[in-house]
């Protein structure tokens, strides 16, 4: 290929606070009766005063810290002005030039660093439904989601293929789940992805003159498909000597392609300005340290600790730390019986796909103990015992060879007695059959 993809990402993560970002309406809006979680603040009624949710701000800072961001000691909220019916105030409260977290990075498994431009706090919009009522096309608005806290995480355009993007997204989802600040359930819209994609000639520096943003992506696999589709589409345009349009496209899963939504004729003119209703936030160094100390162990640290502390392979460690519940389950199981190695426990959890919600760690360890005590003989010992049994039961051997295959059951029984149950009967039978060939 003559072109190198230049890909950046904007990810919105919905926080799981009890109340909304700027009012005390319940943020648990999913599946609720329309407009039942609203008040003058989140409906944008005149005279209402927004007051920021302290928990949401702290979680935003923690997300920033876990992405190795700097936390500026001064931060503020701004108004982003635009008209859309799901935005009752005519502006969204967001952060413009002084966000809570800036200049971070995240390391991919290849060792490549992806720059994090910023992580900022904002409010969600209401939800629109498009319907035909009495033959008329209308839009219906539910403001239950209006003002639910969102953290937007923006990367530098550092990705060069879809695989890197997918890995980053998995890591980010893991981190917010470990922090326990969001369930990041894509299907519920708790994590929303917007890649921007362009191509530059191989070897050239600087950013391309255009950028294509893709929206409506609700799974990690679709983000991969959408990026690969765009790379192909844009390559064809560039090879024909043209420049792709600067535009927003939507991913259409049924047609497996992106479709133009809006061509940006002019730069967005959001006229950001500081929200006069919300006094700024000023941190002291110890505040940030306190938040850092409150953070749980993150996936990356756990990954390394599992390898070093439990002598696990990178593969096993990676599998176990994918979600915190499995990692905790493993650690609990390890404590139960020192005679069982952590490696065996890891292998059982991973290879037997143990349902950690149904099988208690202690039960799992019992299973491993009994399985290991059954298979208590080496292959060599087994063969020796079986040969002795065959030698001292010549009649049964002759019967078997003469076609009375049932005779083998007597030999299995004799062998099992000799082995004192240290091996499974079907294994013994299979081994005997081999020897009798």
């Amino acid at each position: 290929m003559k072109y190198t993809p230049v890909i950046g990402l904007e990810v919105h993560v919905e926080l799981k606070t009890k109340s909304k970002m700027f009012c005390s309406c319940s943020a648990d809006y999913f599946g609720q009766k329309p407009n039942s979680h609203t008040c003058p603040v989140c409906l944008g009624l005149p005279g209402a005063l927004p007051v920021p949710n302290k928990q949401a701000i702290e979680w935003c800072v923690m997300i920033g810290l876990s992405l190795n961001c700097k936390i500026p000691l001064f931060s503020k909220f701004d108004r982003k002005n635009y008209f859309y019916p799901d935005l009752p105030k005519g502006y969204q409260i967001s952060q413009y030039d002084e966000p809570f977290a800036v200049k971070g990075s995240i390391k991919l498994s290849s060792g490549k660093m992806i720059g994090i431009t910023r992580a900022h706090m904002e409010e969600d919009t209401g939800k629109l439904l498009h319907e035909t009522i009495n033959g008329e096309r209308v839009s219906l608005i539910d403001f239950n989601r209006s003002s639910v806290p969102l953290v937007e995480i923006v990367t530098e355009p550092d990705f060069t293929d879809a695989k890197e993007v997918k890995e980053y997204l998995q890591k980010l989802q893991q981190i917010v789940r470990y922090l326990d600040v969001s369930d990041a359930d894509m299907e519920k819209g708790e994590m929303r992805l917007e890649p921007n994609i362009s191509l530059r000639p191989n070897g050239s520096k600087g950013l391309p003159k255009y950028k294509v943003e893709v929206k409506n992506i609700n799974s990690f696999n679709f983000v991969e498909d959408a990026i690969n589709f765009e790379i192909k589409r844009q390559t064809e345009i560039l090879e024909s000597g043209e420049t792709p349009l600067q535009e927003t496209r939507g991913w259409n899963e049924d047609r497996k392609k992106t479709i133009s939504q809006r061509v940006k004729e002019e730069a967005n003119d959001y006229r950001y300005f500081p929200d006069p209703d919300i006094p700024p936030i000023r941190w002291k160094e110890p505040d940030i340290e306190n938040l850092r100390n409150k953070m749980p162990e993150l996936p990356e640290e756990k990954f390394i600790r599992f390898i070093k502390g439990y002598n696990l392979s990178e593969y096993n460690s990676e599998q176990l730390i994918r979600d915190k519940a499995t990692a905790d389950y493993f650690e609990e199981a390890v404590k139960i019986d020192p005679a069982i190695s952590s490696k065996d426990i890891a292998n059982w959890i991973i290879n037997k796909k143990i349902n950690i919600d149904k099988i208690l760690p202690a039960t799992l360890v019992k299973q491993i103990v009994s399985a290991q005590s059954v298979s208590g003989v080496t292959g060599e010992e087994l063969e020796k015992v079986l040969k002795t049994v065959l030698e001292s039961n010549q009649k049964s051997v002759d019967d078997y060879k003469a076609g009375k295959t049932n005779a083998i059951m007597f030999l299995v029984g004799q062998s099992m007695r000799e082995l004192k149950g240290k091996e499974k009967a079907d294994k013994v039978k299979a081994e005997l059959e081999k020897l009798l060939k």
Partner: protein, 93 residues
């Protein structure tokens, strides 16, 4: 001082008739010219601010309290449907 009235009107979501464009272009230019006067003020030793109260760190704890009754919320709406606010169709993005 020149002002792009059409663009400004679009940002403010206001429909303007052609004669209004001319009228407001003149008026807004005059207003801008008047505000230009402020550039004469010496501000070397003054810090920019968007806050005059001197307040900082005004936040609330994360506790939920009851919202407005849902039927009351839509009671003043021009149009409503099954508890939703109803508006003319917006392009489905």
């Amino acid at each position: 001082m020149k002002i792009d009235v059409k663009h400004t009107a679009k940002l403010a979501n206001l429909p303007l008739k052609e004669e209004e464009v001319k009228k407001f272009e003149k008026q807004l230019s005059e207003i801008l010219g008047y505000i230009e006067e402020l550039n004469k003020v010496k501000l070397e030793n003054v810090q920019a601010t968007s806050q005059v109260t001197g307040l900082e760190d005004v936040t609330r704890e994360d506790t939920a309290s009851p919202s407005l009754p849902a039927d009351e919320v839509v009671s003043q709406a021009k149009k409503k449907h099954n508890g939703f606010f109803e508006v003319p169709a917006i392009l489905d993005e």
